[in-house]
């Protein structure tokens, strides 16, 4: 079953919220971090999970390393959809990185969760990714 689940790429800074989300999700995933020079290259179509770092005006929402990753056309080509992370306490900019990436890359914003996610978020994302693996075309709906 898990063979049909799309690959995952995620960004997590040293505060590690998104990393903990991925650990609990229990699916293989490639990590982007601010410290790395060499970016990973996904071998198959993937879903990107990205936290938000926006200031009060929404600037700087998408981490630089994610921009670098997506600015490479070959890496960008494989993106199926994006899952945004953030904190509702940031008001209107909550999960903004997910919305920006969805617009820029012309892919659906699949889900948004806060910090390291709740158990409900984990269950929904896992079920959603399995569904996406079975019906990849449904994202065009």
């Amino acid at each position: 079953m898990s063979a049909s689940i799309p690959a995952l790429v995620y960004f997590s800074s040293k505060s590690g919220n998104t990393h903990r989300f991925i650990q609990r999700l229990g699916l293989p995933a490639l990590r982007l971090s601010a410290e790395m020079d060499q970016l990973p290259f996904p071998q198959s179509p993937y879903v990107l999970i990205c936290p938000t770092y926006a200031d009060g005006e929404g600037r700087g929402a998408v981490p630089k390393q994610v921009i670098r990753f997506l600015n490479d056309p070959e890496r960008r080509e494989g993106i199926l959809g994006v899952i945004g992370a953030g904190n509702r306490n940031f008001g209107a900019t909550y999960g903004l990185a997910g919305r920006i990436i969805a617009q820029k890359c012309n892919v659906p914003l699949l889900y948004t969760f806060e910090l390291a996610g709740t158990d409900t978020d984990i269950a929904r994302v896992r079920a959603g990714l399995e569904k996406l693996g079975r019906h990849p075309c449904s994202t065009a709906a």
Binding site: D55, F90, A92, A102, A116, G128
Partner: protein, 323 residues
């Protein structure tokens, strides 16, 4: 008597040589987000204030004096108590910003009061805050942890719980009014405070994690037990505080769910797992919408939530992403 100890002169801070990139990231975020209460047109709330009952007005003022006390503690004691524990000079500088913004927050409540309330009402509420046993108990629990000589990591735990948990029994009310289209300018100001507290909780929690990962397994267990123990103690106080404030409006259960949700987020800031299960932490959607207006929760997977918007072009330049 002459002080025989040698005066320790700090090294001049060099922001071009960072030990921890997070310090600069958070400094930039905090300074860009700087604001003052004068920015918010609070007087537009005067007609709305007049629609509240006397009890609702009293509750609102009391809740805000409670928040003022927490901000005062964090400004005068909390953030300064973290400074001697700072690992980098940049961390110390960030903490001075945090301390100052807490003073701005405390000052903001007085701006709300002077715009909306009479001197008599204000004085009565401040007297209430000095006498309310639950409010005093939570202040004492935090201050005991901040005391000199206490463990630096335990101080950070208390600080994160104040920033990310204890404020929320109070923040609930302006979000509730806002969800009913009342005191919406006041809610705008409170959202600025909430935004700042989120960065503070995140940063202090991050620094806690850096210290925690250096502990032995046994020490980590002891520290985690301490954190959950303190959370239980504060949660008990918050429950009573919430009942006393919100029973009359019938909002207590709704507020308690909000407490669970925020307790879980406070623990996540420390790198720990959630304490309260999802079924008691699903916050009233109207309150969530008041917290983060214009940012609906997307769940494309289950078919709920709004449909996504597709852009026209694909950007390839870094600056294009900065919007």
């Amino acid at each position: 008597m002459k002080d025989m100890t040698e005066t320790k002169i700090p090294r001049a801070i060099n922001w071009n040589r960072l030990d921890d990139e997070k310090d600069l990231e958070v400094w930039n975020r905090l300074t860009v987000n700087f604001w003052l209460p004068e920015k918010v047109p609070l007087s537009n709330d005067i007609p709305s204030w007049a629609t509240l009952t006397d009890h609702e007005k009293q509750l609102t003022i009391r809740v805000f004096t409670g928040l003022t006390l927490l901000d005062t503690i964090q400004n005068a004691v909390g953030a300064p108590s973290l400074m001697p524990d700072a690992i980098t000079p940049h961390e110390e500088a960030v903490l001075t910003n945090i301390a100052f913004m807490e003073a701005v927050h405390a000052r903001s409540y007085s701006s709300i009061f002077s715009t909306l309330c009479s001197t008599k009402e204000i004085d009565e509420a401040f007297r209430w805050s000095e006498e309310n046993p639950h409010l005093q108990a939570k202040a004492k629990a935090i201050l005991d942890t901040y005391a000199p000589g206490n463990d630096p990591l335990k101080r950070k735990i208390a600080s994160v719980f104040l920033e990310s948990f204890l404020f929320y029994s109070g923040f609930y009310l302006p979000m509730y009014w806002s969800s009913r289209a009342k005191l919406t300018n006041t809610a705008d100001l409170i959202r600025l405070i909430i935004r700042d507290e989120a960065v503070h909780g995140y940063y202090i929690g991050y620094k806690f994690q850096r210290g925690y990962e250096k502990l032995s397994e046994a020490e980590q267990q002891e520290m985690k037990d301490y954190a959950f123990g303190l959370m239980f103690e504060l949660y008990g106080i918050e429950n009573q505080y919430t009942e006393e404030l919100y029973d009359e409006l019938g909002l207590t259960e709704d507020v308690k769910v909000f407490l669970h949700y925020n307790a879980n987020k406070a623990l996540q800031n420390l790198g720990f797992e959630a304490l309260f299960p999802p079924e008691v932490s699903e916050v009233n959607p109207a309150i969530l919408a008041a917290l983060s207006p214009d940012s609906e929760n997307h769940d494309f997977f289950s078919g709920s939530g709004s449909s996504y918007v597709i852009g026209k072009a694909v950007a390839t330049e870094d600056e294009d992403w900065d919007f």
